[in-house]
Each structure stands twice: as structure tokens, then as C-alpha cells.
Symmetry: C2
Subunit: 277 residues, 2 copies
């Protein structure tokens, strides 16, 4: 069972996806009117991005509604996407094609990171019995590359390939504290939306906390991403001390003593920093 | 270190990818000449499919060579793909965008299968110390949805999102034996190419073996996919007894007694069949 604010966070993330879809349509109509190839590219992308977590199959009408495209265009473009295997027909509806999963697996920056990290994440999960995340920063959000769920952890709304606002997560803060200042400024400019009961929404507070994260090598999320949840993260660094990713564990805030598990998380992150290709 | 025939298998798979790319270009030139939207869709797909395992970044010239498209078209289309986040610029070259990873994660048929299977695959790896695969059938090939590598197993060329000819693998044979006959006929029509030293290349032999797999619920690959490697697989079945996927373990053929680990693999597959949503 998910606590109320976690459901609110999920709704927030769904909203992000939908708004992102709408943005696509607007950009397309304005900037690319004079370039038919560009229009097609924008429309195809909008159709692929219209699928949200939990959508197995979508019909042409629903896709037309989500993308704002005329239904006749949607029908024609779906035909092309099916021909090339990016979508698959399922009765009268379509679903994302397995080919997108295959291409998507090649898209992970340094696929080696996920492969190399996997046994270490399993060890951390084994040692703490909580849920382990591996994430990277993408703009103002983190994207989860891998998740190993633990038996003692709450059911979290995070999913592999899913996103979350960086400032509201321990992994996001661990990465931001070890990244060029411009990335933090971009996050602050995006407005620090409230996601959990204790999300840091004041820029000054976030800046001060990140200074400490940079010194200690560990970031905490105490009910900032969701009610009742605590997370502890540490950055995976490259040779120049910049964060490539972050590792975290998440558990119930009334059961996990964050400071006690921090050394385990940091050990895993340091090991990864040392061993990664 | 990979044994020679395993490297041959990798080259075979790379060839498949390249040939598939070339097929795209041909289809595009023939059937879609009268439909500019279709041409753009075909070209965009060809560009995305031109990336192979191990390619981090590709330049426009290399992409033009691989797809057979004019370099001027490649330049223009890359611009569109970058605008929409499907590709990302890296110096003068491009790489697949993280957005493709995100979309790709939504493309796994019944994403629930992978999530639900994960702890069971970890248990099987723990119990056998060999490498565990979860795969589905896609046409005449299997696609690996998840891999948990074991400490005692050889370095295999399989990767998450990667493909392998179904008839040459234990997972492929486990699925084919519990699928409609038309799927086996499609595999046989594709020619049963030799991949490992003992690949079954005779249709009659394959048919007889699959009858036994159907009776026993377990399929073996004894150096059929690569030299020195043995695999044992069992199908994950839906309510009507059809295979949705298969689970396998892979190890060194001189260390693993296939018949001894078969009950463990089948137990995991039966548990998954029972618990899957």
C-alpha cells in the first residue's frame, strides 16, 4: 500500500509526462511548419512519447487526444511505425514495439556502468535489505538506470527508466553536489516543485545542504520525495571528481537509521567509482 | 576470455544487425516512394537501428554508409532526432538519447513480467552460482529481457535487449516447444543457421527434440550456442499452457551437470508461471 503523498508524487510524475507530450505538439506546429521532414519527425516522436507507465495498448483516438494531432495523421503515422517495428498492433490498438526496448538498451550512456554495477547493487541490497537505486542526472531530473528492490523497503513509485525531480531525491542531491554549478542553477530555475512533505523548495536551503553533501560524500532525503520514506545516496565519481551517477538505498523512515547505513552506501559508491570502465 | 566459436557467434549477430539495417533502406526505396511521411519514418527508423552494441557515438558519414542514405539527408534528419531527444550530440557525432531508454522500458510486453521475475532470478543465480537469463520469442529469435550474471559462469555474448537465433538456445527451444506450430515452422524456414559447434541444423532433429522438451518441461543447449557452454531452460506458461517467456541458467559444460540443475530451473519457471500477473 502506498502512502497518500507517494500517490501524489506518482500523479505529479504522470502530469510531467503528459505536459511533456503537449510541449512537443506546440513546438512542432510553430517552428517546423516549413519543413515537412521535421513535422513528421516531431509527430512520430510525439506518438512514441505519448505512452505512459501502465499503458499497455492505446487506440488511435486516445493517441490523437494525447498528442493533439488530427486523427487521420495519427492513423497514417501509426501504419509507418508498425511497418518499421517501433509499434506493434494489438487488435485495433497499438503498443510500443520490442525493437524500442532493444534500441533503448543501447542508449544507456556507458552501458558498462549498469552491467558493472549490478553485482555491487545486489550486495548492498543483501546487506541492508532495503531498496537500491542507480540513477543519472538528465536535465533537472534523475533517471533510474537500475533498481533492486529489498524485502524490508516500502513500495516506491520509482521504476527503471522513470524520472523524478532531482532536488527532491537523495541521488539527485548527491549528483548535483558533485556537478558543475550550472546544473544546480538549471534545477533552481525550474522552480523546486514540492513532491513530498519535506521537499526542499527554498534555493538557499538547497545550496547550503549541497555544500555539506560535497564535503561528506553522502546525501539524505528525509521524506522529501514521499511520506514515510528515507533515502541515503552517494555519488559515483569519474577521475576528475565529477558525478557520473549515484547509488542510494531507500527504506521506511521509522525503521532505517540513515546515518548507520550511510557508510555502506558510500562504500558501494566508492567501489564503483574505482572499478568502472 | 571468449572461446573462438563464441566470437564467431558475436560476429554472426553483428551481421544480422547490419543486414537488418540494409533491409530497411531497400524497403523504403521501393514501397514508399509516393508517401513522403513514410519515407521520413523509414529513414528515421533506419538511423536509430544503425547503432550496434558497442557503438557509443557515430558520425554522419558512418551513419550514411550504414543506412545507404545520402549524407545531406542524414544531416537534416539527425538534426530532427536531436531536437526531439531521440539522439544526443557528442562533439561532431551523435549517440542514442536517454529518452530512448525511457521509452524502451515501457515497451517490454507486460513490464510486470521482468519486475516480478527479478527476485526469483536472483534466487536461482544464488542457488546455482551460474548466469540466469529471462527471454521471450520475437519472430525467429529470442530477445533477452533480463540477465543476472553468476560468478562461476563463462563470459557470454548475451546482453539485455540482445537477440540470438531461437533454435540455437535452450530458452528458444523451451518457448518453441510450448508455442503454436507456426512459430516453429517460421524458425525452420529461416534456415537453422549454425551458431555454435553443435547447433541443431536438421529440421527433423529439432522437431524430435522439441517433442521431448514439451513432455519434460526442460530444454538443453549443449554447445549449440557456443563452445564450452551448456544451458538449461524451462518455459514460463500462461493459463492456457502457452509459453510467455523462458528462464535458463548457463555455465561451463565441463563443470555444470545439466540434469542436476534442471529441477532448480524448472522450479523457478513454475513459480513464475503461477505468480505472474
Amino acid at each position: 500500500m502506498l502512502p497518500g503523498p507517494t500517490i501524489a508524487a506518482m500523479a505529479f510524475l504522470m502530469g510531467l509526462t503528459l505536459r511533456r507530450g503537449a510541449g512537443h505538439t506546440q513546438r512542432m506546429c510553430a517552428a517546423e511548419r516549413d519543413d515537412p521532414g521535421g513535422v513528421t519527425a516531431a509527430r512520430l516522436t510525439a506518438l512514441l512519447c505519448a505512452f505512459a507507465p501502465g499503458d499497455e495498448c492505446l487506440g488511435a483516438s486516445e493517441l490523437a487526444r494525447r498528442t493533439g494531432l488530427p486523427k487521420s495523421s495519427v492513423h497514417r503515422l501509426l501504419g509507418h511505425l508498425v511497418t518499421h517495428g517501433l509499434l506493434e498492433r494489438d487488435g485495433g490498438a497499438v503498443r510500443l514495439g520490442l525493437k524500442l526496448f532493444e534500441i533503448g538498451q543501447l542508449a544507456v550512456r556507458g552501458r558498462g556502468l549498469v552491467d558493472a554495477a549490478r553485482p555491487y547493487l545486489a550486495d548492498l541490497r543483501e546487506a541492508t535489505r532495503n531498496t537500491v537505486h542507480l540513477a543519472v542526472l538528465e536535465g533537472t531530473e534523475v533517471v533510474y538506470l537500475d533498481i533492486v528492490r529489498g524485502p524490508d523497503a516500502p513500495a516506491l513509485p520509482s521504476r527503471i527508466g522513470g524520472r523524478f525531480p532531482a532536488h527532491a531525491t537523495a541521488v539527485g542531491k548527491a549528483i548535483l553536489a558533485h556537478s558543475p554549478g550550472s546544473q544546480l542553477e538549471a534545477v533552481i530555475s525550474a522552480g523546486l516543485p514540492r513532491v513530498g512533505p519535506r521537499t526542499l523548495t527554498a534555493p538557499g536551503l538547497l545550496r547550503r545542504q549541497l555544500t555539506r553533501v560535497c564535503e561528506e560524500g553522502v546525501a539524505y532525503d528525509r521524506e522529501e520525495s514521499g511520506a514515510g520514506v528515507v533515502c541515503v545516496a552517494s555519488p559515483v565519481l569519474d577521475g576528475s571528481g565529477r558525478a557520473r551517477a549515484a547509488v542510494s538505498i531507500s527504506g521506511w523512515s521509522n525503521r532505517v537509521r540513515a546515518e548507520r547505513v550511510a557508510p555502506a552506501v558510500r562504500t558501494t559508491a566508492l567501489t564503483l567509482s574505482r572499478t568502472l570502465p
